[in-house]
């Protein structure tokens, strides 16, 4: 997608660079929020959990800023072709990153409930970090694909969502078994189930980002491209 040529109107290039910068900053914050929320969860670190919740406002503010910038670019520059696709993708990706931030915030919110005073430490917590790592990796890879305009990398992120879904199914079964064996822990483990569900949703959103990156880079829709491949046409 990098055309290699600059726009005749230099301010247009500046707008596009600003758009890209905002997306990568937002993405960076969302990725960090997932890591921190999972770290807070593992350690029962409520201070860190509060920080995650506070920082989410930053992501929201950046989304609003990006939205204004996109409206301005469309109104003033009437972008075409790859520029148009990039601007539309940025708008949609920003909304998705904001949602990812919300899920991380939601995980952080559950930390005090899972580590309620006097409750015993739940072993099941230890099986979630690997899933959190995978979800955060998907977000990072999707955003790296955006920075690099890399359709192939975007398609790989798209494909990796299956692994996260498998993770979720496995954790779901493990947690249910755990609850059956330890009925006293049900309210805490129910929170853990939500954490797993949040991570699974983050993966879905990372997949959406990947789809937009693919569209921005190629002008084609990933779902249609894959359907085309499987039908051999």
């Amino acid at each position: 997608m990098a055309s290699g040529h600059e726009h005749t109107v230099k301010a247009f290039d500046q707008d596009i660079s600003q758009l890209r910068a905002l997306i990568s900053q937002m993405g960076g914050l969302a990725e960090q929020a997932i890591y921190d929320a999972m770290k807070a969860l593992q350690r029962g670190d409520e201070a860190l959990a509060r920080t995650v919740r506070k920082k989410d406002k930053q992501i929201d503010a950046m989304e609003a800023e990006l939205e204004k910038l996109v409206v301005r670019v469309i109104a003033l520059r009437a972008p075409m072709a790859d520029d148009l696709r990039e601007v539309i993708a940025a708008l949609k990706i920003a909304a998705v990153i904001e949602r990812i931030g919300d899920y991380a915030k939601n995980i952080a919110k559950r930390v005090p409930m899972i580590h309620a005073e006097g409750e015993e430490r739940i072993e099941a917590v230890s099986i979630l970090p690997a899933m959190g790592q995978l979800a955060a990796d998907m977000v990072r890879n999707a955003l790296d694909a955006f920075s690099a305009r890399d359709a192939k990398a975007a398609a790989e992120v798209h494909a990796s969502d299956t692994a996260l879904d498998d993770f979720y199914d496995s954790i779901f079964r493990t947690l249910v078994t755990f609850m059956v064996e330890n009925p006293r822990t049900i309210s805490q483990v129910a929170h853990l189930l939500f954490v797993a569900k949040n991570l699974e949703r983050i993966g879905d959103h990372a997949t959406n980002v990947a789809e937009m990156v693919y569209f921005a880079a190629t002008g084609h829709y990933l779902a249609e491209a894959e359907a085309g491949e499987s039908s051999g046409s």
């Binding site: 055309s3 040529h5 005749t8 520059r77 075409m80 072709a81 190629t218 002008g219």
Partner: protein, 258 residues
């Protein structure tokens, strides 16, 4: 280069080149134009799009140094054939220019002139019917019906351009060529012309040259991008402006050209 179409093409160009003396302005261009479709020609100044457009009704014949090679057909008939009646050709393939150029005559006479010399009207009332119908199709009737004897040149620029379109329509053409028909008009007059193109689409094959890419995107179903005399890309307008195949097309439409 041409999107598939079930009907035979209204006009087809095959290997068309245009020379002005030694200089080649259009290089080996092949393209098809269909009924019910608006085809837009875009490209930077001097890319040959207007020159190429003018080969469709032999307007280049009027330029002494211009030479056209290749073949252009209208309903399969070679329009550069020796027995082609050029006056008849230009009635079938009408043209609207960048600057409105009404005759210094009344509004009525501007529209009536063509049908009269082509013998399309058998009586005065017949002629009046053609003038009214043409002005209506050009979206001008309501504005001028009470002052048909006023001079055509007294109208506003946008009205003059619609008068010129009415004049082109009056001889019942099959193809209408428009060479930047709205570039000298304000945004409202431009919007009226674009709306008009939209309404005329079902009746004629329309080819429009425009510098305004948004306009090309809005009014056309197919777009051809010209650069340095070559046809770089020709395709469905929707695709060309969202996902052009050629790097040169992309650079031009995104404002990275030059």
């Amino acid at each position: 280069m041409t999107p598939a179409s079930p009907a035979p093409h209204k006009m087809s160009a095959r290997g068309v080149s245009v020379f002005y003396g030694q200089k080649q302005a259009v290089k080996d261009v092949s393209i098809d134009v269909d009924m019910d479709k608006v085809t837009a020609f875009i490209g930077p100044s001097g890319c040959g799009k207007s020159t190429f457009l003018r080969t469709f009704n032999r307007m280049n014949d009027t330029i002494a140094s211009a030479r056209v090679t290749g073949e252009i057909t209208l309903d399969g008939a070679d329009i550069y054939a020796a027995d082609m009646d050029v006056v008849q050709l230009r009635a079938r393939v009408g043209m609207v220019f960048q600057k409105p150029n009404p005759f210094p005559k009344s509004i009525f006479e501007n529209v009536a002139y063509g049908p009269r010399i082509h013998g399309l009207a058998s009586s005065k009332s017949d002629l009046e019917g053609i003038v009214e119908r043409s002005l209506k199709r050009a979206g001008l009737w309501e504005e001028v019906k009470d002052r048909l004897s006023d001079s055509g040149t007294a109208l506003s620029g946008g009205q003059q351009q619609r008068l010129c379109i009415a004049r082109a329509i009056a001889v019942d053409p099959e193809v209408i060529l428009m060479d930047e028909p709205a570039s000298a008009l304000d945004p409202i007059a431009t919007a009226k012309i674009e709306e008009l193109i939209h309404e005329l689409r079902g009746r004629y094959a329309i080819v429009i040259v425009t510098h305004n890419m948004q306009q090309a995107a809005r009014v056309s179903q197919r777009t051809a991008f010209f650069h340095l005399g070559q046809l770089v890309e020709y395709g469905e307008t929707d695709n060309l402006f969202t996902a052009p195949r050629e790097e040169r097309t992309k650079d031009y439409i995104t404002g990275r050209y030059g």
